[in-house]
């Protein structure tokens, strides 16, 4: 009889193979997924580090802009591929935009991951706080002689008409004497010859305390106006009681800013000879849009030139001892004049903007005399050159990620 093989023969093996295969396949796919998660974690780290590398490139580029030194000769702010840790790097291209503005594109790389960011940086402007009490604001006595006219009404930018009531003609923490044929106007009132306190055009014994608690700390006017955080609340000169201690303090900008700006503009002078040489090189006048800083004790004469500068300037005559004296002023000047002491604003002088003087004592026999004119102009003071430092900050104005390839 022929043997027939059972249809169940080998079934156990077949079933075992199928079950084993399914179990193994499930475990294998599970392992693949776990591996993928692990690889994903690694790629996430790479992508993040690539971004940090790109940001490192931006910061190094900003550093080069700050130094104003093109270290590699490839353009200011542009950097060649620079290693950043193991297997990482950044490459930067900086393109100059408007005045004091750069667009920085930085490519960061970590292994095979790449990220590129684009930022726009603009050189920082130091905000200036302008708070004028008068056409002439003085810490010490002010005496006017001869035919000088001081007008605190608000004159327009071109010195052609009065556009507002303005401020006091003169404000002094000390005495004011309007003598000779001199006249003072202000607070909307046309100049008055031999004005007195009753004419309401000047303020003598000016009180710089305003009785207001600006910082809401319960103590009004507790800060000296000195550029120092006297009450230790993290704010400087936020609630002052006194006359400002110097030019930077008056504008509420960091100490040394005006000097730094003047140095960067090539208009910082430590002697009368340097000033005279500069003026001669510029046709006998002082070009507008500048910050001039005269760091020597006596400037005499101070001749601004026969033609008024078209754009306003700031001229500072100040020494660290606070004893600078400007004497025998002539010519036409548009802008802000800040001096320690002033003696004799003379006959043909026109100053459009404002004058501030810091010396508390008398300087000579008169602040101004002759037929000079000093006029307040908020339009001129609003157009003073920006406090832009060549070595100053470069804040980021915009930031975005762009495709890396």
């Amino acid at each position: 009889m022929k043997r027939t093989s059972s249809p169940r023969k080998g079934m156990a093996l077949l079933l075992a193979l199928i079950v084993g295969l399914i179990v193994f396949a499930l475990a294998f796919f599970g392992a693949l997924i776990a591996s993928d998660v692990m690889r994903g974690a690694g790629e996430t780290w790479e992508m993040r580090q690539a971004l940090y590398a790109a940001e490192a490139g931006v910061n190094k580029s900003i550093r080069e802009l700050t130094l104003s030194t093109d270290a590699n000769g490839d353009g200011l702010g542009t950097l060649p591929t620079t290693p950043m840790g193991t297997n990482g790097s950044f490459t930067v291209v900086a393109t100059a935009g408007g005045v004091g503005e750069y667009t920085i594109r930085s490519l960061g790389q970590m292994n095979d991951s790449r990220r590129r960011i684009e930022v726009v940086v603009r050189q920082g402007l130091i905000p200036v706080s302008l708070d004028f009490r008068a056409a002439i604001t003085a810490n010490g006595p002010v005496t006017t002689l001869g035919g000088i006219t001081v007008d605190g009404r608000d004159w327009d930018y071109n010195n052609s008409s009065v556009v507002g009531g303005g401020v006091w003609g003169i404000s002094s923490r000390s005495t004011i004497a309007v003598n000779g044929s001199s006249s003072v106007g202000g607070n909307g009132r046309a100049p008055v010859r031999n004005a007195t306190g009753g004419d309401n055009v000047f303020e003598a014994s000016a009180d710089w305390s305003d009785g207001i608690d600006q910082d809401s700390d319960g103590s009004p006017d507790e800060e000296a106006f000195d550029g120092i955080d006297n009450d230790g609340d993290g704010q400087v000169d936020e609630d002052t009681s006194d006359f400002p201690a110097g030019p930077d303090v008056f504008l509420k900008i960091p100490g040394g800013t005006l000097q730094s700006v003047a140095q960067s503009m090539g208009t910082y002078f430590t002697s009368q000879a340097q000033l005279d040489a500069y003026r001669t090189a510029n046709g006998g006048s002082l070009p507008g849009g500048k910050v001039y800083y005269l760091d020597f004790s006596v400037c005499q004469p101070m001749d601004f030139g026969a033609t008024m500068n078209t754009t306003p300037s700031i001229l500072v005559h100040h020494t660290s001892a606070g004893n600078a004296k400007m004497k025998n002023v002539h010519g036409q000047f548009k802008g802000l004049l800040m001096v320690d002491g002033m003696e004799h604003i003379n006959a043909n002088t026109t100053i459009l903007g404002a004058i501030v003087s810091f010396t508390p004592s008398s300087v000579g026999n008169a602040y101004g005399n002759g037929g000079a004119t000093v006029r307040f102009s908020s339009a001129v003071l609003g157009g003073l050159p920006p406090m832009m430092l060549s070595g100053g900050a470069w804040p980021i104005r915009s930031w975005r990620e762009i495709p890396a390839n």
Binding site: A12, A16, L26, A31, A34, V37, A41, A56, N59, M84
Partner: protein, 132 residues
């Protein structure tokens, strides 16, 4: 009398081989599952470490520039349940190193090192920060 083989059922050999196949498959699967769990655990730890390092780096980037070196160089921190590697000096898994050899361009590195079943592992982030 001649014994006849039953046409039904399976032989002992078949059953033994089938059990062996299943055993091998289960052993392989167990080892793969074990590997997967290890990978999953390590990935979670790595993500946790990365989040912590990222968070510290962001704090540094947002800090006042003048305070970065003083406040963050040598700064140490913990990360969840991660344990420091054996022999770690300060017993913390995270630390910050700020190199100020150029005081106006700080080289900032945030390290996280922790203990795993297979020894120690770690990650770090690095960037440069300047005054803006």
């Amino acid at each position: 009398m001649k014994r006849r083989r039953s046409p039904r059922g399976m032989t002992l050999v078949e059953i033994i081989i089938a059990l062996a196949v299943i055993a091998v498959a289960i052993l392989g699967a167990v080892s793969l599952v074990s590997f997967s769990m290890g990978q999953d655990h390590e990935a979670k730890e790595r993500m946790q470490a990365m989040d912590a390092a990222k968070s510290v780096m962001e704090r540094i980037q947002e800090a006042s520039y003048d305070n970065i070196f003083t406040n963050f160089n040598g700064f140490a921190f913990d990360v969840g349940m991660l344990l420091p590697p054996d022999g770690d000096a300060d017993g913390r898994v995270g630390r910050v190193v700020v190199n100020n050899s150029d005081p106006e361009l700080l080289d900032v590195q945030v390290f996280v090192e922790w203990r795993t079943l297979r020894g120690k592992t770690g990650l770090s982030f690095r960037t440069l920060i300047t005054r803006r």
